[in-house]
Symmetry: C2
Subunit: 190 residues, 2 copies
C-alpha cells in the first residue's frame, strides 16, 4: 500500500490515513477526496462507497483464481497454495506491516466491515474453487482446497500483521501451512 | 427442524414454510406470526428480526465451544473435531435433508443472508478458538483447528444438504475430514 501517483492510490492512502486518525465511522467521502485533492466524482468512479476503499476492489478473487491456474501442473495441491500465497504476499503485503496491522484491526473492530470482510472471504473461496475445478480436481477436493487456501491466507495475514517480530509474510505463510498439515493429520490420539 | 409445540419452533416452522412458498424478501413478520397463530410481540421476544429466524439464535457458537471442551482430553485434535461434528449433526440435522437443502439454498441466493451466514461462521471460529485455547493448544494451533472445524462443518452441511444419495450427515462429515487430511498433506509433487 505504498503511495501511488494515480487517483485510486491517492484515494486509498487518504482514506486509510483518515480512518486511522479519526475512525472509520467518522470519516466521510468528501473528507477523503479533500485530503487526496480530488473530486467526489473521481471517488465514485473508483469505489461504490466508503466501505469499498477498505477492501481494495473486486479484482482480488479473480487474481487469486488466475494465480491458481498459472501454477505448474505437476505441483501437489498444497504446493500450489504455497506458490500462490507467496505471490500474493509479494504483491500486496511486502511494504508496511504496521499499516496492514492498523487496517486489519480497523476491520475486526467494526461489525459492518467484518460482514464485508467475511463476504469477501466467501467470494475468494468461490473463485478459488472454480480454479481448482478447472485444474481437474473433483468437486469436494476443489472445495476443500479453496477453503484451505483462503483460510491459510487470512490466518497468515492476521498473524503477520499482529506480530512484533521481523518475520516476512512468506515465513508466516509457510508456518501456517505447516501447522495446517500437522493439525489436519487424522489419528485417534494425540 | 421438526415441528415443535413451543412458540419458537412454531415461528421457525412458519417462517421456513413462507420463505419456501413466496421467497425470503416477500415474507413479512406479520405473515409469519399469522401462520404460526401467534402475536408479533411473541415473535420479537424470540428473534431480533426476520433474518434471525433463518439463523436459529446466537447460542450455536457457544454450543460448539461447549462440545469442544467436553471432548475427552486424550483425543487428537482432528478426533475432537470429528466427535464434536457428529454430536452437532445428531442434534441439528438428523431430521429432514430436503428442508435443510431448501434452507441452505435460500441463504446462498440472498446477499444479506450470505453476509449474516459469513459472520455467523466467523463467530463460530472465534468461540471454537477460545475452546481450543482452553484445551491447552498454542494460539496458532487453536486458530487453525477452529478454522478447520468450522470449514469441515460448513462444507459437510452443504454437501449433505445438496446431495441426492441417502448418506447420513455423519458419513459426509467423515468424508470431508478425510479429504481435508489428505489434501492438507504437505508434499511438493502430486
Amino acid at each position: 500500500m505504498r503511495w501511488a501517483p494515480d487517483a485510486r492510490g491517492r484515494l486509498e492512502r487518504a482514506a486509510i490515513e483518515l480512518f486511522a486518525e479519526q475512525g472509520y465511522a467518522a470519516t466521510t467521502v468528501p473528507q477523503i477526496t479533500a485530503r487526496a485533492g480530488l473530486t467526489t466524482r473521481t471517488f465514485f468512479r473508483h469505489f461504490a462507497d466508503k466501505r469499498e476503499v477498505v477492501f481494495g476492489g473486486d479484482e482480488i478473487p479473480e487474481n487469486a483464481a488466475r494465480l491458481i491456474l498459472a501454477a505448474p501442473s505437476g505441483l501437489a495441491p498444497m504446493a500450489v497454495l504455497r506458490t500462490v500465497l507467496h505471490r500474493v504476499s509479494a504483491e500486496f503485503f511486502a511494504s508496511d506491516r504496521a499499516e496492514t496491522g492498523a487496517w486489519r484491526a480497523m476491520i475486526l473492530a467494526n461489525d459492518e466491515l467484518r460482514d464485508r470482510d467475511a463476504r469477501k472471504r466467501a467470494d475468494m473461496v468461490r473463485a478459488s474453487r472454480a480454479a481448482f475445478l478447472e485444474r481437474g480436481q473433483p468437486p469436494l477436493e476443489a472445495t476443500v482446497l479453496a477453503e484451505l487456501g483462503v483460510l491459510a491466507f487470512q490466518v497468515a495475514l492476521d498473524e503477520w500483521a499482529a506480530g512484533s517480530d521481523d518475520r516476512s509474510m512468506d515465513a508466516v505463510v509457510d508456518e501456517v501451512l505447516a501447522t495446517i498439515a500437522r493439525q489436519a493429520q487424522d489419528r485417534a490420539e494425540r
